[in-house]
Protein backbone atom coordinates (compact mmCIF):
# COMPACT_ATOMS: atom_id res chain seq x y z
CA UNK A 1 0.00 0.00 0.00
CA UNK A 2 1.74 3.12 -1.24
CA UNK A 3 -0.08 6.12 0.22
CA UNK A 4 -0.28 9.24 -1.91
CA UNK A 5 0.05 12.19 0.40
CA UNK A 6 -1.78 15.36 -0.68
CA UNK A 7 -2.41 18.74 0.92
CA UNK A 8 -5.66 17.58 2.48
CA UNK A 9 -3.95 14.67 4.27
CA UNK A 10 -1.12 16.93 5.50
CA UNK A 11 -3.68 19.41 6.89
CA UNK A 12 -5.56 16.57 8.58
CA UNK A 13 -2.37 15.23 10.24
CA UNK A 14 -1.37 18.76 11.27
CA UNK A 15 -4.73 19.18 12.95
CA UNK A 16 -4.37 15.82 14.75
CA UNK A 17 -0.89 16.96 15.86
CA UNK A 18 -2.18 20.40 16.99
CA UNK A 19 0.37 22.18 14.79
CA UNK A 20 -0.57 25.28 12.80
CA UNK A 21 1.16 25.33 9.42
CA UNK A 22 1.58 28.00 6.75
CA UNK A 23 0.58 27.20 3.16
CA UNK A 24 4.26 26.99 2.19
CA UNK A 25 4.91 24.48 4.97
CA UNK A 26 2.00 22.33 3.78
CA UNK A 27 3.33 22.31 0.22
CA UNK A 28 6.85 21.35 1.30
CA UNK A 29 5.55 18.60 3.60
CA UNK A 30 3.48 16.98 0.82
CA UNK A 31 6.62 16.48 -1.21
CA UNK A 32 8.77 15.38 1.76
CA UNK A 33 6.22 12.88 3.11
CA UNK A 34 5.83 11.31 -0.33
CA UNK A 35 9.57 10.91 -0.69
CA UNK A 36 10.05 9.51 2.84
CA UNK A 37 7.07 7.13 2.62
CA UNK A 38 8.11 5.79 -0.76
CA UNK A 39 11.46 4.82 0.77
CA UNK A 40 9.77 3.43 3.88
CA UNK A 41 7.31 1.37 1.82
CA UNK A 42 9.82 -1.48 1.76
CA UNK A 43 8.86 -2.08 5.37
CA UNK A 44 5.48 -3.21 4.04
CA UNK A 45 6.70 -5.50 1.29
CA UNK A 46 9.57 -7.00 3.26
CA UNK A 47 7.96 -7.49 6.64
CA UNK A 48 4.50 -8.62 5.54
CA UNK A 49 5.11 -12.21 6.72
CA UNK A 50 6.61 -11.29 10.09
CA UNK A 51 4.56 -11.95 13.23
CA UNK A 52 3.18 -8.83 14.92
CA UNK A 53 4.75 -8.51 18.39
CA UNK A 54 2.59 -8.05 21.45
CA UNK A 55 2.17 -4.47 22.68
CA UNK A 56 3.97 -5.54 25.88
CA UNK A 57 7.04 -6.67 23.97
CA UNK A 58 9.96 -4.51 25.12
CA UNK A 59 13.71 -4.55 25.55
CA UNK A 60 13.70 -4.87 29.33
CA UNK A 61 11.48 -7.08 31.49
CA UNK A 62 9.64 -4.89 33.92
CA UNK A 63 10.00 -5.63 37.60
CA UNK A 64 8.16 -3.80 40.32
CA UNK A 65 10.26 -1.43 42.39
CA UNK A 66 8.75 0.04 45.53
CA UNK A 67 9.63 3.44 46.86
CA UNK A 68 8.49 5.48 49.80
CA UNK A 69 5.81 7.97 48.81
CA UNK A 70 7.69 11.06 49.82
CA UNK A 71 7.55 14.48 48.18
CA UNK A 72 10.87 15.23 46.53
CA UNK A 73 10.12 18.67 45.19
CA UNK A 74 8.13 21.66 46.27
CA UNK A 75 5.12 23.21 44.57
CA UNK A 76 7.05 26.35 43.75
CA UNK A 77 9.54 24.31 41.70
CA UNK A 78 6.72 24.00 39.20
CA UNK A 79 4.62 27.12 39.71
CA UNK A 80 7.61 29.34 38.93
CA UNK A 81 7.72 27.73 35.48
CA UNK A 82 4.13 28.64 34.53
CA UNK A 83 4.39 31.02 31.53
CA UNK A 84 0.96 32.61 32.16
CA UNK A 85 0.02 32.75 35.80
CA UNK A 86 -1.69 34.57 38.59
CA UNK A 87 -0.16 33.70 41.95
CA UNK A 88 -0.03 29.93 42.11
CA UNK A 89 -2.66 29.49 39.39
CA UNK A 90 -2.13 28.79 35.69
CA UNK A 91 -3.81 31.18 33.29
CA UNK A 92 -5.25 29.46 30.25
CA UNK A 93 -7.49 30.34 27.29
CA UNK A 94 -11.21 30.61 27.99
CA UNK A 95 -13.14 27.36 27.72
CA UNK A 96 -16.59 28.88 27.17
Amino acid sequence: MQVKVDEELVRHIASLSRIKLSDEEVKALVEQFNSILSYFSKIQSESSDLPIPSPMDRLVDLTNVYRCDEPRRSETDFTTLFPNKEGRYIKAPKIV
Partner: protein, 483 residues
Protein backbone atom coordinates in the same frame (compact mmCIF):
# COMPACT_ATOMS: atom_id res chain seq x y z
CA UNK B 1 45.44 15.20 29.56
CA UNK B 2 43.64 12.00 30.57
CA UNK B 3 40.81 12.28 33.09
CA UNK B 4 42.63 10.03 35.56
CA UNK B 5 45.60 12.44 35.48
CA UNK B 6 43.34 15.45 36.11
CA UNK B 7 41.81 13.65 39.11
CA UNK B 8 45.23 12.62 40.38
CA UNK B 9 46.63 16.13 40.21
CA UNK B 10 43.54 17.60 41.92
CA UNK B 11 43.58 15.00 44.69
CA UNK B 12 47.32 15.36 45.29
CA UNK B 13 46.96 19.14 45.51
CA UNK B 14 49.37 19.57 42.59
CA UNK B 15 46.64 21.60 40.90
CA UNK B 16 43.44 22.92 42.42
CA UNK B 17 40.02 22.12 40.98
CA UNK B 18 39.60 25.88 40.55
CA UNK B 19 42.71 25.98 38.34
CA UNK B 20 41.44 23.04 36.29
CA UNK B 21 38.04 24.69 35.76
CA UNK B 22 39.66 28.03 34.91
CA UNK B 23 41.85 26.36 32.30
CA UNK B 24 38.89 24.73 30.57
CA UNK B 25 36.77 27.90 30.83
CA UNK B 26 39.66 29.69 29.12
CA UNK B 27 39.63 27.20 26.24
CA UNK B 28 35.83 27.58 25.94
CA UNK B 29 36.19 31.38 25.80
CA UNK B 30 38.79 31.23 23.05
CA UNK B 31 37.45 28.31 21.01
CA UNK B 32 33.66 28.24 21.36
CA UNK B 33 33.01 31.42 19.35
CA UNK B 34 34.34 29.38 16.38
CA UNK B 35 32.63 26.07 17.19
CA UNK B 36 29.37 26.98 18.99
CA UNK B 37 29.30 23.76 21.00
CA UNK B 38 27.72 25.37 24.07
CA UNK B 39 24.26 26.84 24.58
CA UNK B 40 25.03 27.77 28.18
CA UNK B 41 28.23 28.05 30.22
CA UNK B 42 27.96 28.31 34.00
CA UNK B 43 31.21 30.09 34.85
CA UNK B 44 30.30 31.25 38.36
CA UNK B 45 28.58 28.00 39.34
CA UNK B 46 31.37 25.74 38.12
CA UNK B 47 34.03 27.83 39.88
CA UNK B 48 32.09 27.80 43.12
CA UNK B 49 31.65 24.01 42.89
CA UNK B 50 35.41 23.74 42.21
CA UNK B 51 36.14 25.71 45.40
CA UNK B 52 33.97 23.23 47.34
CA UNK B 53 35.92 20.32 45.87
CA UNK B 54 39.19 21.98 46.88
CA UNK B 55 37.83 22.51 50.41
CA UNK B 56 36.86 18.85 50.67
CA UNK B 57 40.34 17.77 49.66
CA UNK B 58 41.97 20.19 52.12
CA UNK B 59 39.83 18.82 54.92
CA UNK B 60 40.91 15.27 54.07
CA UNK B 61 37.71 14.02 52.40
CA UNK B 62 37.61 12.23 49.04
CA UNK B 63 35.36 14.09 46.55
CA UNK B 64 35.09 10.96 44.37
CA UNK B 65 36.51 9.29 41.25
CA UNK B 66 35.90 12.36 39.04
CA UNK B 67 37.15 14.99 41.51
CA UNK B 68 37.43 18.35 39.75
CA UNK B 69 36.71 17.05 36.24
CA UNK B 70 34.68 19.47 34.07
CA UNK B 71 31.83 17.79 32.22
CA UNK B 72 29.51 19.18 29.54
CA UNK B 73 25.90 17.98 29.39
CA UNK B 74 23.72 17.81 26.30
CA UNK B 75 20.89 20.31 26.63
CA UNK B 76 18.14 17.69 26.67
CA UNK B 77 19.35 16.37 30.04
CA UNK B 78 18.26 18.17 33.22
CA UNK B 79 20.81 20.00 35.38
CA UNK B 80 19.28 21.76 38.38
CA UNK B 81 19.27 25.55 38.06
CA UNK B 82 20.42 25.55 34.43
CA UNK B 83 18.23 26.27 31.38
CA UNK B 84 16.93 23.18 29.60
CA UNK B 85 16.09 24.16 26.03
CA UNK B 86 16.42 20.99 23.91
CA UNK B 87 17.57 23.62 21.37
CA UNK B 88 13.90 24.53 20.89
CA UNK B 89 12.04 27.83 21.08
CA UNK B 90 9.16 26.01 22.74
CA UNK B 91 11.17 25.57 25.96
CA UNK B 92 12.07 29.26 26.16
CA UNK B 93 12.60 30.33 29.76
CA UNK B 94 12.58 26.80 31.21
CA UNK B 95 15.05 26.30 34.07
CA UNK B 96 15.31 22.75 35.34
CA UNK B 97 14.10 22.25 38.94
CA UNK B 98 16.06 19.00 39.38
CA UNK B 99 19.08 16.95 38.26
CA UNK B 100 18.84 13.97 35.93
CA UNK B 101 20.05 10.81 37.68
CA UNK B 102 23.13 10.61 35.43
CA UNK B 103 23.94 14.21 36.37
CA UNK B 104 23.48 13.69 40.11
CA UNK B 105 25.75 10.64 39.83
CA UNK B 106 28.42 12.76 38.14
CA UNK B 107 28.12 15.50 40.75
CA UNK B 108 28.33 12.96 43.58
CA UNK B 109 31.55 11.64 41.98
CA UNK B 110 33.14 15.10 42.16
CA UNK B 111 32.62 16.09 38.51
CA UNK B 112 31.75 19.72 37.72
CA UNK B 113 29.00 20.48 35.21
CA UNK B 114 30.47 23.36 33.24
CA UNK B 115 27.60 23.94 30.79
CA UNK B 116 24.98 22.68 28.37
CA UNK B 117 25.73 21.69 24.78
CA UNK B 118 23.98 22.23 21.47
CA UNK B 119 21.89 19.59 19.72
CA UNK B 120 19.37 19.15 16.95
CA UNK B 121 16.03 20.33 18.32
CA UNK B 122 14.72 17.63 20.69
CA UNK B 123 17.60 15.39 19.53
CA UNK B 124 15.99 14.97 16.10
CA UNK B 125 18.72 15.18 13.51
CA UNK B 126 22.21 14.09 12.57
CA UNK B 127 24.08 17.39 12.19
CA UNK B 128 22.93 19.99 14.84
CA UNK B 129 21.65 22.06 11.91
CA UNK B 130 18.12 21.64 13.28
CA UNK B 131 19.05 23.52 16.48
CA UNK B 132 16.88 26.63 16.92
CA UNK B 133 20.04 28.43 18.07
CA UNK B 134 22.21 27.74 15.02
CA UNK B 135 24.45 24.79 14.20
CA UNK B 136 27.65 23.72 15.93
CA UNK B 137 30.69 23.33 13.73
CA UNK B 138 33.07 20.43 13.36
CA UNK B 139 36.39 21.30 15.08
CA UNK B 140 38.28 19.18 12.50
CA UNK B 141 36.93 21.37 9.67
CA UNK B 142 34.78 24.36 10.57
CA UNK B 143 32.94 24.24 7.24
CA UNK B 144 31.49 20.83 8.15
CA UNK B 145 28.84 19.55 10.55
CA UNK B 146 29.89 17.87 13.79
CA UNK B 147 27.16 15.23 13.41
CA UNK B 148 24.16 14.91 15.63
CA UNK B 149 22.16 15.06 17.47
CA UNK B 150 24.67 15.37 20.36
CA UNK B 151 26.94 17.45 18.10
CA UNK B 152 27.74 20.08 20.73
CA UNK B 153 29.02 17.43 23.14
CA UNK B 154 31.14 15.76 20.46
CA UNK B 155 32.56 19.08 19.27
CA UNK B 156 33.29 20.19 22.87
CA UNK B 157 35.37 17.07 23.58
CA UNK B 158 37.01 17.06 20.13
CA UNK B 159 38.25 20.63 20.59
CA UNK B 160 39.51 20.15 24.15
CA UNK B 161 36.85 22.38 25.76
CA UNK B 162 35.95 19.54 28.17
CA UNK B 163 37.47 16.11 28.78
CA UNK B 164 34.06 14.40 29.14
CA UNK B 165 30.52 15.04 27.94
CA UNK B 166 27.11 13.43 28.20
CA UNK B 167 24.87 12.89 25.19
CA UNK B 168 21.80 10.88 24.36
CA UNK B 169 21.55 8.23 21.65
CA UNK B 170 18.17 7.42 20.11
CA UNK B 171 19.32 6.39 16.64
CA UNK B 172 23.03 7.17 16.67
CA UNK B 173 23.05 10.59 18.33
CA UNK B 174 26.17 9.87 20.39
CA UNK B 175 28.02 7.68 17.90
CA UNK B 176 27.49 9.88 14.83
CA UNK B 177 29.04 13.03 16.33
CA UNK B 178 31.78 10.91 17.93
CA UNK B 179 32.61 9.55 14.48
CA UNK B 180 32.42 12.89 12.66
CA UNK B 181 34.49 14.79 15.26
CA UNK B 182 37.02 12.02 15.94
CA UNK B 183 36.38 11.07 19.58
CA UNK B 184 35.01 8.07 21.47
CA UNK B 185 31.25 7.76 21.92
CA UNK B 186 29.39 5.08 23.86
CA UNK B 187 25.76 4.10 23.56
CA UNK B 188 25.27 1.78 26.53
CA UNK B 189 22.88 -1.17 26.79
CA UNK B 190 19.28 0.09 26.91
CA UNK B 191 18.28 0.60 30.53
CA UNK B 192 21.78 0.50 32.01
CA UNK B 193 21.95 4.27 32.46
CA UNK B 194 18.87 5.96 33.91
CA UNK B 195 16.86 8.17 31.57
CA UNK B 196 15.32 10.01 34.50
CA UNK B 197 15.81 13.69 33.64
CA UNK B 198 16.39 12.99 29.94
CA UNK B 199 13.70 14.72 27.88
CA UNK B 200 11.77 11.92 26.18
CA UNK B 201 11.81 11.64 22.41
CA UNK B 202 11.51 7.90 21.71
CA UNK B 203 11.68 6.28 25.10
CA UNK B 204 11.57 2.62 24.05
CA UNK B 205 14.85 3.17 22.18
CA UNK B 206 16.94 5.94 23.71
CA UNK B 207 19.75 5.95 26.28
CA UNK B 208 22.17 8.43 27.82
CA UNK B 209 25.76 7.91 26.69
CA UNK B 210 29.09 9.69 26.82
CA UNK B 211 32.03 11.16 24.91
CA UNK B 212 35.76 11.19 25.64
CA UNK B 213 39.12 11.54 23.91
CA UNK B 214 40.58 8.38 25.48
CA UNK B 215 39.00 4.92 25.95
CA UNK B 216 40.02 4.82 29.60
CA UNK B 217 38.14 8.10 30.25
CA UNK B 218 34.99 6.64 28.78
CA UNK B 219 35.30 3.64 31.03
CA UNK B 220 35.61 5.91 34.07
CA UNK B 221 32.60 8.00 33.03
CA UNK B 222 30.50 4.91 32.39
CA UNK B 223 31.39 3.34 35.74
CA UNK B 224 29.95 6.44 37.44
CA UNK B 225 26.65 6.72 35.54
CA UNK B 226 25.74 3.03 35.09
CA UNK B 227 23.40 0.80 37.12
CA UNK B 228 21.35 3.56 38.61
CA UNK B 229 18.33 3.16 40.81
CA UNK B 230 15.97 5.92 39.75
CA UNK B 231 12.33 6.54 38.87
CA UNK B 232 13.04 5.28 35.33
CA UNK B 233 10.94 2.09 35.00
CA UNK B 234 13.44 0.64 32.50
CA UNK B 235 16.41 0.80 34.88
CA UNK B 236 18.40 -2.42 34.95
CA UNK B 237 19.71 -2.02 38.45
CA UNK B 238 20.07 -5.52 39.76
CA UNK B 239 21.76 -7.14 36.80
CA UNK B 240 25.46 -7.86 36.85
CA UNK B 241 26.60 -7.32 40.37
CA UNK B 242 29.99 -8.56 39.21
CA UNK B 243 30.35 -7.96 35.47
CA UNK B 244 32.38 -10.40 33.45
CA UNK B 245 35.72 -8.73 32.83
CA UNK B 246 36.88 -8.39 29.23
CA UNK B 247 39.28 -11.28 28.63
CA UNK B 248 41.38 -9.50 25.98
CA UNK B 249 41.21 -9.63 22.18
CA UNK B 250 43.18 -12.86 21.87
CA UNK B 251 40.75 -15.61 20.89
CA UNK B 252 37.78 -13.22 20.51
CA UNK B 253 35.52 -13.75 17.51
CA UNK B 254 34.53 -10.55 15.72
CA UNK B 255 31.72 -10.48 13.15
CA UNK B 256 32.04 -7.81 10.47
CA UNK B 257 28.50 -6.96 9.36
CA UNK B 258 28.39 -7.45 5.60
CA UNK B 259 25.32 -5.27 4.93
CA UNK B 260 27.00 -2.19 6.43
CA UNK B 261 29.76 -2.34 3.81
CA UNK B 262 27.37 -2.39 0.88
CA UNK B 263 26.89 0.23 -1.81
CA UNK B 264 26.69 3.73 -0.34
CA UNK B 265 29.53 3.18 2.12
CA UNK B 266 32.46 5.18 0.84
CA UNK B 267 35.84 3.65 0.01
CA UNK B 268 37.76 5.70 2.58
CA UNK B 269 35.49 4.40 5.35
CA UNK B 270 36.03 0.82 4.20
CA UNK B 271 39.81 1.23 4.13
CA UNK B 272 39.78 2.41 7.77
CA UNK B 273 37.78 -0.74 8.62
CA UNK B 274 40.30 -2.89 6.72
CA UNK B 275 43.16 -1.42 8.71
CA UNK B 276 41.34 -2.10 11.98
CA UNK B 277 40.69 -5.69 10.92
CA UNK B 278 44.41 -6.28 10.42
CA UNK B 279 45.06 -4.85 13.90
CA UNK B 280 42.40 -7.12 15.44
CA UNK B 281 43.98 -10.12 13.73
CA UNK B 282 47.40 -9.00 14.94
CA UNK B 283 45.99 -8.97 18.49
CA UNK B 284 44.87 -12.57 18.10
CA UNK B 285 41.17 -12.05 17.30
CA UNK B 286 39.34 -13.81 14.48
CA UNK B 287 37.39 -11.58 12.09
CA UNK B 288 34.72 -13.03 9.82
CA UNK B 289 31.94 -11.54 7.72
CA UNK B 290 28.45 -12.05 9.10
CA UNK B 291 25.21 -11.33 7.29
CA UNK B 292 22.19 -9.70 8.94
CA UNK B 293 19.68 -9.62 6.07
CA UNK B 294 16.96 -7.74 7.99
CA UNK B 295 19.22 -4.73 8.47
CA UNK B 296 17.75 -3.15 5.33
CA UNK B 297 14.53 -2.70 7.33
CA UNK B 298 16.27 -0.99 10.24
CA UNK B 299 16.10 2.60 8.98
CA UNK B 300 12.37 2.63 8.09
CA UNK B 301 11.53 0.64 11.22
CA UNK B 302 13.50 3.02 13.43
CA UNK B 303 12.06 6.21 11.94
CA UNK B 304 8.47 4.99 11.98
CA UNK B 305 8.70 3.88 15.62
CA UNK B 306 10.71 6.89 16.81
CA UNK B 307 8.29 9.33 15.13
CA UNK B 308 5.29 7.52 16.61
CA UNK B 309 6.77 7.79 20.09
CA UNK B 310 7.77 11.42 19.48
CA UNK B 311 4.25 12.40 18.46
CA UNK B 312 2.99 11.17 21.81
CA UNK B 313 5.94 12.32 23.95
CA UNK B 314 5.94 15.83 22.50
CA UNK B 315 2.20 16.27 23.06
CA UNK B 316 3.14 17.71 26.46
CA UNK B 317 4.44 20.97 24.93
CA UNK B 318 1.32 23.06 25.00
CA UNK B 319 2.50 26.42 26.35
CA UNK B 320 0.36 26.04 29.46
CA UNK B 321 2.61 24.66 32.21
CA UNK B 322 6.07 25.73 31.05
CA UNK B 323 8.02 27.08 28.09
CA UNK B 324 6.82 29.47 25.41
CA UNK B 325 3.42 30.84 26.51
CA UNK B 326 0.34 29.96 24.49
CA UNK B 327 -1.81 32.91 23.36
CA UNK B 328 -4.55 33.56 25.94
CA UNK B 329 -6.73 35.35 23.41
CA UNK B 330 -7.16 32.17 21.31
CA UNK B 331 -10.76 31.13 20.64
CA UNK B 332 -10.30 27.67 22.12
CA UNK B 333 -7.65 25.35 23.56
CA UNK B 334 -6.86 23.57 20.29
CA UNK B 335 -6.25 26.89 18.58
CA UNK B 336 -3.99 27.98 21.43
CA UNK B 337 -1.98 24.72 21.33
CA UNK B 338 -1.69 24.78 17.52
CA UNK B 339 -0.47 28.35 17.56
CA UNK B 340 2.25 27.84 20.16
CA UNK B 341 3.33 24.51 18.65
CA UNK B 342 3.29 25.93 15.11
CA UNK B 343 5.63 28.76 16.08
CA UNK B 344 7.60 27.00 18.84
CA UNK B 345 8.70 23.85 16.99
CA UNK B 346 11.19 23.88 14.12
CA UNK B 347 10.65 22.14 10.76
CA UNK B 348 12.20 18.73 11.58
CA UNK B 349 10.30 18.38 14.86
CA UNK B 350 7.04 19.25 13.12
CA UNK B 351 7.84 16.72 10.39
CA UNK B 352 8.49 13.94 12.90
CA UNK B 353 5.49 14.66 15.12
CA UNK B 354 3.28 14.66 12.04
CA UNK B 355 4.85 11.52 10.61
CA UNK B 356 4.21 9.90 13.99
CA UNK B 357 0.59 11.07 14.16
CA UNK B 358 0.17 9.71 10.64
CA UNK B 359 1.49 6.19 11.35
CA UNK B 360 -0.56 5.99 14.54
CA UNK B 361 -3.76 7.21 12.93
CA UNK B 362 -6.63 4.98 11.98
CA UNK B 363 -6.08 3.23 8.65
CA UNK B 364 -2.29 3.57 8.72
CA UNK B 365 -1.48 1.96 12.08
CA UNK B 366 -1.56 -1.59 10.72
CA UNK B 367 0.19 -0.64 7.50
CA UNK B 368 3.09 1.22 9.07
CA UNK B 369 3.38 1.12 12.86
CA UNK B 370 2.75 -2.60 13.36
CA UNK B 371 4.97 -3.52 10.41
CA UNK B 372 7.76 -1.41 11.87
CA UNK B 373 7.32 -3.10 15.27
CA UNK B 374 7.47 -6.54 13.61
CA UNK B 375 10.63 -5.56 11.72
CA UNK B 376 12.19 -4.29 14.93
CA UNK B 377 11.64 -7.64 16.61
CA UNK B 378 13.19 -9.48 13.67
CA UNK B 379 16.23 -7.16 13.63
CA UNK B 380 16.74 -7.62 17.36
CA UNK B 381 16.56 -11.39 17.00
CA UNK B 382 19.11 -11.34 14.16
CA UNK B 383 21.53 -9.11 16.08
CA UNK B 384 21.26 -11.22 19.24
CA UNK B 385 21.74 -14.43 17.26
CA UNK B 386 24.88 -13.02 15.64
CA UNK B 387 26.15 -12.08 19.11
CA UNK B 388 25.88 -15.72 20.15
CA UNK B 389 28.39 -16.73 17.47
CA UNK B 390 30.61 -13.66 17.84
CA UNK B 391 31.56 -11.81 21.04
CA UNK B 392 31.75 -8.53 19.15
CA UNK B 393 30.22 -7.18 15.96
CA UNK B 394 31.88 -4.49 13.89
CA UNK B 395 30.43 -1.91 11.47
CA UNK B 396 31.23 1.58 10.22
CA UNK B 397 29.59 4.26 12.39
CA UNK B 398 28.48 6.29 9.38
CA UNK B 399 28.70 5.44 5.69
CA UNK B 400 30.55 8.70 4.93
CA UNK B 401 32.70 11.37 6.61
CA UNK B 402 31.15 14.59 8.00
CA UNK B 403 29.16 16.45 5.31
CA UNK B 404 29.48 20.19 4.68
CA UNK B 405 27.13 22.52 6.55
CA UNK B 406 23.92 22.82 4.52
CA UNK B 407 24.65 19.75 2.37
CA UNK B 408 21.81 17.61 3.75
CA UNK B 409 19.23 20.03 5.12
CA UNK B 410 17.18 20.43 1.95
CA UNK B 411 16.42 16.70 1.73
CA UNK B 412 15.28 15.12 5.03
CA UNK B 413 15.60 11.57 3.70
CA UNK B 414 19.29 12.05 2.84
CA UNK B 415 19.85 13.24 6.43
CA UNK B 416 18.11 10.08 7.75
CA UNK B 417 20.43 7.94 5.60
CA UNK B 418 23.41 9.02 7.72
CA UNK B 419 21.94 6.84 10.51
CA UNK B 420 21.83 3.67 8.41
CA UNK B 421 24.52 1.84 10.40
CA UNK B 422 23.72 3.12 13.91
CA UNK B 423 19.94 2.56 14.25
CA UNK B 424 20.04 -1.27 14.22
CA UNK B 425 21.74 -1.35 17.62
CA UNK B 426 19.21 1.05 19.17
CA UNK B 427 16.43 -1.21 17.94
CA UNK B 428 18.26 -4.20 19.46
CA UNK B 429 19.09 -2.38 22.72
CA UNK B 430 22.72 -3.57 22.67
CA UNK B 431 25.85 -1.58 23.63
CA UNK B 432 27.71 0.09 20.76
CA UNK B 433 30.85 2.19 20.88
CA UNK B 434 32.25 4.39 18.12
CA UNK B 435 36.03 4.60 18.17
CA UNK B 436 37.98 7.30 16.31
CA UNK B 437 39.70 4.64 14.24
CA UNK B 438 41.26 6.69 11.47
CA UNK B 439 41.07 9.38 8.83
CA UNK B 440 39.22 9.28 5.53
CA UNK B 441 38.54 11.74 2.74
CA UNK B 442 40.01 15.26 3.30
CA UNK B 443 41.77 13.94 6.42
CA UNK B 444 38.42 13.85 8.26
CA UNK B 445 37.77 11.40 11.11
CA UNK B 446 36.17 8.01 10.47
CA UNK B 447 34.49 6.14 13.32
CA UNK B 448 34.09 2.38 13.61
CA UNK B 449 31.50 0.72 15.85
CA UNK B 450 32.16 -2.18 18.16
CA UNK B 451 28.93 -3.82 19.28
CA UNK B 452 28.45 -6.22 22.19
CA UNK B 453 25.74 -8.44 23.65
CA UNK B 454 23.26 -6.81 26.08
CA UNK B 455 24.97 -5.76 29.33
CA UNK B 456 28.44 -6.49 27.92
CA UNK B 457 29.32 -2.80 27.74
CA UNK B 458 32.62 -3.47 29.50
CA UNK B 459 33.64 -5.71 26.63
CA UNK B 460 33.24 -3.06 23.93
CA UNK B 461 35.09 -0.57 26.14
CA UNK B 462 37.75 -3.19 26.94
CA UNK B 463 38.27 -3.96 23.25
CA UNK B 464 38.59 -0.24 22.52
CA UNK B 465 41.17 0.16 25.28
CA UNK B 466 43.26 -2.72 23.98
CA UNK B 467 43.10 -1.44 20.39
CA UNK B 468 44.08 2.02 21.59
CA UNK B 469 46.99 0.54 23.55
CA UNK B 470 48.40 -1.07 20.41
CA UNK B 471 48.13 2.16 18.42
CA UNK B 472 45.19 1.00 16.30
CA UNK B 473 42.96 3.99 17.13
CA UNK B 474 44.55 6.74 15.09
CA UNK B 475 42.78 9.73 16.65
CA UNK B 476 42.75 8.56 20.28
CA UNK B 477 43.58 11.49 22.58
CA UNK B 478 44.14 13.80 19.64
CA UNK B 479 41.97 16.89 20.04
CA UNK B 480 41.79 19.74 17.53
CA UNK B 481 43.68 22.84 18.71
CA UNK B 482 41.78 25.88 17.51
CA UNK B 483 43.37 28.52 19.75
Amino acid sequence: MKVADVVKSVKSGEKSAVEVVQEYLGVIKRVDPKVHAFLYVDEAGSLSRAREIDEEIKSGRDPGPLAGVPVAVKDNIAVKGMPLTCASRILEGYVSPYDATAVSRLKAAGAIVIGKTNLDEFAMGSSTEYSAFGPSKNPRDLSRVPGGSSGGSGAAVASGMVPLALGSDTGGSVRCPASFTGVYGLKPTYGLVSRYGLVSFANSIEVIGGFSAWAEDLSLLFSVIRNTDSPDPMDQTTVFSSPLAFPGLRGIRVGLIKETLAEGTSEDVISVIDRLISKLVEAGATVEEVSLPSLELALPSYYLLACAEASSNLARYDGIRYGKPCPLEARNWNEAFSEVRGTGFGPEVKRRIMMGSFVLSSGYYDAYYLKAAAARKKIREEVLKALKGYQLLMAPTNPVVAPKLGEKTSDPLSMYMLDLDTVPFNLAGVPALSLPAGKGAYGLPVGVQLVGAPLMDDWVIGAAKELEGMGAVELAGEVARLE
